[in-house]
């Protein structure tokens, strides 16, 4: 009963912040004058001058996409260098060695693509300087990259020009006006609640029982705040947000969850403001909330029911394996739902030890990849499915499909098909490959249906740029490091480029005002169509493998 109240309060809190930050982002990206200009403009001007950027130049989609990709690859190279050289650099109190090449490639691609898949454990594999220069850095820039790509797509779909903004200016404004101030404030709240924030070295102690324990520390709070605000998800420590220093209390847990939902939901609201149709935002938010809450109910009920054999043996309370007492089943289930809806990928409980049906939820949400979705990438995927829903219903009623008054034609359909089909392709093909080869199969911890889920989860997580794992899989091998690294790159950049191209071509079209016969996209009816399209496309692509993995395992556990 309290748990039901908790979820209601959570939805209300997300909605309040969605309106506030959505309005703020609308001002940042669609007006020349924005709040706090006197504070932020001087900082931005210094950055523009140092980087020789003309803040008034607007770009077509090709220049925008090229600037985005080039900047991201330069950043990735900088990160890779630090990982390979950290042993020779300062701020390495624990004396951590350089990272090997395949793992450094995997880590650099992982963080530049906003995935944050981790084949390493931070406390033994990364110096404080590497955490700052190779991890905190891309946590900001990859989040900002996703946000500005979504903003550019919205400009193309709704605007009157094939010019969709200036990538560099958008990136700087996102970081300076949104991500840095929020992350700083949230970091201090996290410290107050018990998160660690220090450059002092690890502490070796003799415990009260006489054993030796080394307690790792580091600049954790500054890392945690942007990790969730930017839907990044990588853990400072191996245990991620289950670690008491990353997520010390139920309050920090709530802040983490609200941070993850903040920008994905605000972007939906911003879209409504741009269109001057708030109803559009409520319809889309309502549709994704419907899927979200169904998923939450599934994992929550499944974990409460727990494992039948253990309940029969007199062990009460459901499944607590891999969960922390301070969160319990409710806050763990909600965190699991949030982190794979907003494709963050941090975990406050071990997903591999969820009941099979509980584990089905994160896998399915990463397959759908648009239940809010990651910062920016989420809105782009939502718009992709909106376009698809419009196209399909257009076919049924025999009208040329239109979105926001503009016609959807051949080029747009091609780009949609590329963005749409890449996702199942880069999940299912590598999964099949890994399962067919003798070497990669050795990495599986729990053979059988669960082992299939481990491998499926890994590529699903990489493709959705999520980053969470069924962590039993030993993914630090050359095969997994390179294939998952490449899946992350494809999952990130193919859809961004295809959808920016779509936006550029839409931007060149003239909107026909008030066409009464076209399908309206701001009605509850359209919200229902949206949900049905998402579920049908998802089920068509993925049901067979889900039946062999988590669904089959749950049925065996119940009825065997």
């Amino acid at each position: 009963m309290i748990d039901l109240l908790m979820i209601i309060v959570f939805v209300l809190l997300v909605t309040v912040f969605m309106i506030a930050i959505g309005t703020y982002m609308y001002r940042i990206f669609f007006f020349t004058e924005a709040p706090f200009d006197r504070l932020f403009l001087p900082v931005e001007r210094v950055i523009y001058r140092l980087s020789d950027i003309d803040e008034d130049a607007s770009m077509n989609w090709k220049t925008y996409a090229a600037s985005l990709v080039v900047t991201n690859f330069i950043m990735m190279a900088l990160m890779y260098l630090v990982l390979r050289l950290q042993a020779y650099l300062p701020l390495n109190p624990a004396g951590i060695p350089n990272m090997p090449p395949a793992l450094a490639y995997n880590t650099a691609t992982s963080f530049i693509t906003n995935t944050n898949w981790q084949a390493y454990s931070g406390e033994v594999a990364m110096s404080y300087l590497a955490q700052m220069l190779s991890i905190i850095y891309p946590m900001f820039t990859s989040a900002a990259t996703g946000i500005v790509a979504a903003v550019a797509m919205v400009r193309g779909l709704t605007g009157k020009s094939p010019l969709i903004g200036n990538f560099f200016v958008d990136l700087v404004r996102t970081i300076i006006r949104l991500l840095l101030p929020l992350s700083f404030l949230v970091a201090l709240i996290l410290v107050a609640e018990g998160a660690v924030m220090t450059l002092k070295p690890y502490v070796a102690v003799t415990t009260f029982d006489g054993t030796v324990q080394t307690i790792p520390r580091g600049p954790v709070a500054a890392y945690e705040s942007i990790k969730h605000i930017g839907t990044n998800g990588g853990g400072f420590f191996g245990a991620n947000a289950a670690h008491p220093f990353e997520n010390p209390s139920p309050i920090t847990n709530l802040i983490h969850m609200l941070s993850m939902m903040l920008i994905p939901s605000s972007l939906i609201y911003m879209l409504g403001l741009v269109l001057k149709k708030k109803k559009q935002a409520w319809v889309l938010a309502g549709a994704v909330w419907f899927i979200f809450l169904s998923m939450f109910a599934t994992v929550y009920i499944s974990e409460r029911l727990g494992v039948p054999a253990l309940t029969a043996a007199g062990i009460t309370g459901g499944n607590m394996e891999g969960k922390e007492v301070r969160f319990g089943i409710a806050a763990s289930s909600l965190f699991t739902t949030v982190t794979t809806a907003a494709t963050t990928g941090s975990v406050n409980n071990m997903h591999e030890s969820l009941t099979p049906l509980g584990g089905f939820v994160p896998i399915a949400q990463m397959m759908l990849n648009n239940v809010f979705g990651g910062v920016g990438a989420g809105l782009m995927n939502i718009l992709l499915y909106v376009l698809l829903a419009v196209f399909l219903t257009g076919l049924m009623i025999g009208r040329t499909p239109e979105i926001f008054g503009k016609k959807i034609e051949t080029h747009e359909m091609k780009m949609m098909a590329i963005a749409l089909l890449t996702h199942p392709f880069i999940i299912l093909v590598p999964t099949a490959l890994a399962l067919a080869l003798p070497g990669p199969v050795q990495s599986i911890l729990n053979p059988g249906s669960h082992g299939l889920s481990e491998v499926l989860y890994a590529y699903d997580s990489g493709a959705a740029n999520n980053g969470s794992a069924f962590a039993g899989l030993d993914a630090d091998t050359v095969f997994y490091n390179t294939t998952i690294g490449t899946v992350m790159m494809l999952g990130r950049f193919i859809s961004i480029i295809a959808l920016l191209s779509l936006a550029g071509s839409m931007g060149g079209k003239v909107a026909t005002e008030g066409n009464v016969v076209s399908l309206r996209t701001d009605t509850p009816f359209f919200g229902a169509i949206y949900v049905v399209v998402v579920l049908i496309i998802g089920a068509l692509a993925f049901f067979p493998v889900l039946a062999l993995g988590p669904i089959g395992e749950q049925l065996v556990m119940w009825f065997h």
Binding site: V203, V307, S353
Partner: protein
Amino acid sequence: MFLKALRLSLVLWVLIGLVYPLVTNVFAQVLFPYQANGSLLEEDGVVRGSLRIAQPYTGDQWFHPRPSASNYDALDSGGTNADVARADYQAEIIARADAVRDESSGIVQAVPNDLVTASGSGLDADLSVPAALAQVPRIARATGLSEEELSAIVARHTVGRELFLFGEERVNVHELNQALRERGVR
């Protein structure tokens, strides 16, 4: 365009990778030094652990934390990643539950789930209230303290849900054992 991208990447590298964490560090150290440095537990000026990180307590006279996948090695945080549908996993948990019942001389019958399962971090320093109370008969036998007094200690250190909604009712093992030490338990 390449040069612009390179220069911007370097400027942001300094701003985000160095200035931001270092400034946050200064504020954290000034405003909340105890938390920022790891909530360290000291005894006679010597650091003995962290309030938030579980340690092994093996003797019968202590409250035991939850099982740990890494045996409380704080450099190896994480869970067991056990597949809960597997029969060998279930047999291990049932054996732990039987041990809890034996330790309590049969007083405990329904075993709280958190007491016999490993936490996600392997470093969970909290117990549910039933999991702490399930250990009271054993500790009473080993220390000579009465069960009433031990139950009162658990009650005194119990923390409720935050804002009455979020998280779970819980009690910190370090605080419980500190209370035992104050009553002369060694």
